[in-house]
């Protein structure tokens, strides 16, 4: 199946079309952020402007259409610019860690022997460390900040791709068209890139799509736990952590501060959902061929 065919089917499939539409919406939000929510300070657009210094959140109003959260950070601004943060974290973390996993898994499977043994034991060691705890520890050591969060996530999330890629390559490596390429005198580089990776990449793409959502959630978790983005940074996870003290509402009205939690919550949920929808649809489309 060719790329065009896969794309065509992705669009024909209602579920993945929904996913694509949601992602398109977020892309527009991210690209046009400076126009949708003009920054107060053009040098630091990711810092959410504050509408005062009181602690208590303010309900949506004409001036702040989504209201303000703890310490008067504007929720609308945070959501819009937080989209950029989410894309940045997702694309960079998944992109780098998947590439690393692909290279490692391919080398291990293609060359086999002690190289395979060594690389896979290293992978095992990384896999045996609990993911969340490991990232928290690493961010704490490196210091707070989005870049360090991404480094920590990359460090501890490449293993599943490496394993998946290794098993894929192991099966394709024995295929006759690879043997044919060897018999033609092709060098390792050509065999790996033109023959093996092209025929093993789809499952990794599916996995990467699924991981987009989960990486953004983990980054949010870190922010929620207070080791992620610095205070005031446009990040959905942090906005939820601002809502922490206000979840219970006031006496007699538990939903009094609903907007502090629900609005950033919806943003994260929709973002992850859309990637998962696409990943699922991908798998359905490609499954008959994988089996």
């Amino acid at each position: 199946m060719e790329w065009q065919e896969v794309l065509k089917r992705l669009i024909q499939n209602k579920i993945s079309l929904l996913g694509i539409l949601i992602i398109l919406f977020f892309v527009i939000l991210a690209v046009f952020a400076p126009f949708i929510a003009p920054p107060r300070d053009a040098d630091e657009p990711y810092m959410i402007p504050r509408a005062g210094w009181t602690i208590e959140p303010q309900a949506p109003s004409n001036e702040h259409i989504f209201g303000t959260t703890e310490s008067q950070y504007d929720i609308f601004y945070g959501i819009v610019w937080g989209t950029r943060t989410a894309f940045r974290i997702g694309l960079i973390v998944v992109g780098i860690s998947s590439s690393f996993g692909i290279i490692l898994g391919t080398i291990a499977a293609y060359y086999g022997g002690w190289i395979d043994e060594l690389l896979m034991r290293i992978t095992d060691i990384f896999m045996s460390i609990p993911f969340i705890i490991a990232t928290i520890v690493l961010v704490t050591i490196l210091g707070q900040g989005i870049t360090n969060v991404m480094i920590a996530l990359i460090t501890f999330s490449w293993m599943s791709t490496a394993r998946l890629m290794r098993s894929q390559v192991l099966s394709v490596k024995e295929d006759e068209f690879v043997q044919a390429a060897i018999a033609l005198g092709a060098n390792d580089f050509r065999i790996i890139f033109r023959h093996i990776i092209l025929n093993t990449i789809f499952p990794v793409v599916i996995q990467a799509s699924m991981r987009m959502g989960s990486m953004v959630i983990t980054a949010s978790t870190l922010s929620f736990l207070g080791v992620g983005a610095p205070e005031g940074y446009a990040d959905w996870g942090q906005m939820i952590s601002f809502a922490r003290n206000w979840i219970l509402g006031i006496e007699g009205d538990p939903l009094h501060y609903w907007y502090t939690l629900v609005i950033p919550g919806i943003a994260i949920t929709l973002f992850c959902l859309s990637w998962n929808l696409i990943g699922d649809a991908f798998r359905d489309i490609l499954d008959p061929k994988l089996n």
Binding site: E2, A183, G185, R194
Partner: protein, 325 residues
């Protein structure tokens, strides 16, 4: 007499059987166990045998798609087992392979032009893309496929057409030797003949030498000049095809010939039906490997391995019965 293009001397290929936590080698599958033969310039040598006899392994070991355990493969006077990686890559231009499965042997994500053009790219046989595509077109024409197929993908073709693409790929480097590993056995009967005819035509046109590996004796007989019969990693008989069919010496060859069902209901053959199955190559029988199934085995057979000797002009066989006579 034509010169030998390829000489295989005492070739062995053992696959280790590993077991346990430390993956110790506990035994060996003796897939190819000390075989020698030569292929003459311009001829077709058939290599025939049942599944597991080592015929495909032989083909792949000759091309070093598998590394031999022992032995020499001399191609145009050079022992290619001693070549380094780069020298080996260069010599692959001269020796090509056609695979059995026309579905698995073509990269599903490459167009026909790229599949057939790949060897040209690898060995830099064209100055630019235009020249390359021109060459690809010519080769496709030669195997009976039109240029309109250039930009299609393998899944758009039938089995027979795919096999033609596989043949075109092998031809693209203008090789001297082609090892055809069961090239027609995955095809429909009516299409098999097309490919067999194609291979014969190409042999004449390009002066090719074939090592034709197959399990189907009638096809091998049709296309080959000489035939080698393998059983459990050994060549048991080797002679020209007429002699093999008129005067088979080895009891295995005799029973193999008689086992083939012929498309003629009138001919009720005197069939030698062999008992039992082919034994495992992990622990092959002692002495002559065929003795447990051989209808003519006698006391010497389980004890001593028969020598591969010449009985009459160019007719080789390995059997104690012949030595006795």
């Amino acid at each position: 007499m034509a010169e030998n293009l390829l000489e295989v001397k005492n070739l062995k290929k053992y696959f280790p059987v590993k077991a346990g936590v430390f993956k110790r080698t506990v035994a060996h599958v003796k897939a190819v166990d000390d075989i020698s033969f030569a292929v003459k310039q311009g001829e077709t040598l058939g290599l025939v045998g049942e599944s597991g006899c080592g015929k495909s392994t032989t083909g792949r070991t000759i091309l070093r798609l598998l590394e031999a355990t022992e032995g020499e493969v001399v191609f145009e006077g050079k022992n290619i087992m001693e070549l380094d990686k780069n020298e080996m890559r260069a010599i692959r231009r001269d020796m090509q392979i056609i695979f059995q499965d026309p579905y698995a042997s073509l990269n599903p994500r490459m167009t026909v032009a790229d599949i057939v053009g790949e060897p040209i790219d690898i060995h830099k046989l064209a100055k630019n893309k235009k020249e390359r595509n021109q060459k690809v077109e010519e080769i496709l024409e030669n195997v009976g496929l039109g240029a309109e197929y250039m930009n299609r993908y393998p899944h758009e073709f039938s089995g027979g057409q795919r096999q033609r693409i596989g043949v075109a790929r092998a031809l693209a480097v203008d090789p001297k030797l082609i090892i055809a590993d069961e090239p027609v056995s995955a095809l429909d009967v009516s299409v098999q003949a097309q490919v067999v005819n194609l291979l014969q035509d190409l042999q004449q046109e390009y002066g090719l030498t074939y090592l034709f590996i197959a399990h189907d004796l009638s096809v091998v007989k049709h296309i080959s000049d000489r035939v080698a019969v393998m059983y459990l990693g050994k060549i048991v008989e080797l002679t020209d095809k007429k002699e093999l069919y008129d005067n088979p010496l080895h009891p295995y060859t005799q029973s193999l010939l008689s086992a083939i069902p012929e498309a003629d209901p009138k001919k009720k053959k005197d069939r030698i039906v062999l008992e039992g199955d082919v034994p495992s190559p992990v622990d092959p029988p002692s002495g002559c490997r065929f003795h447990p199934r051989c209808p003519k085995a006698f006391d010497l057979c389980p004890v001593k391995e028969p020598e591969f000797k010449e009985y009459g002009d160019g007719h080789f066989a390995a059997c104690h019965l012949l030595e006795k006579e």
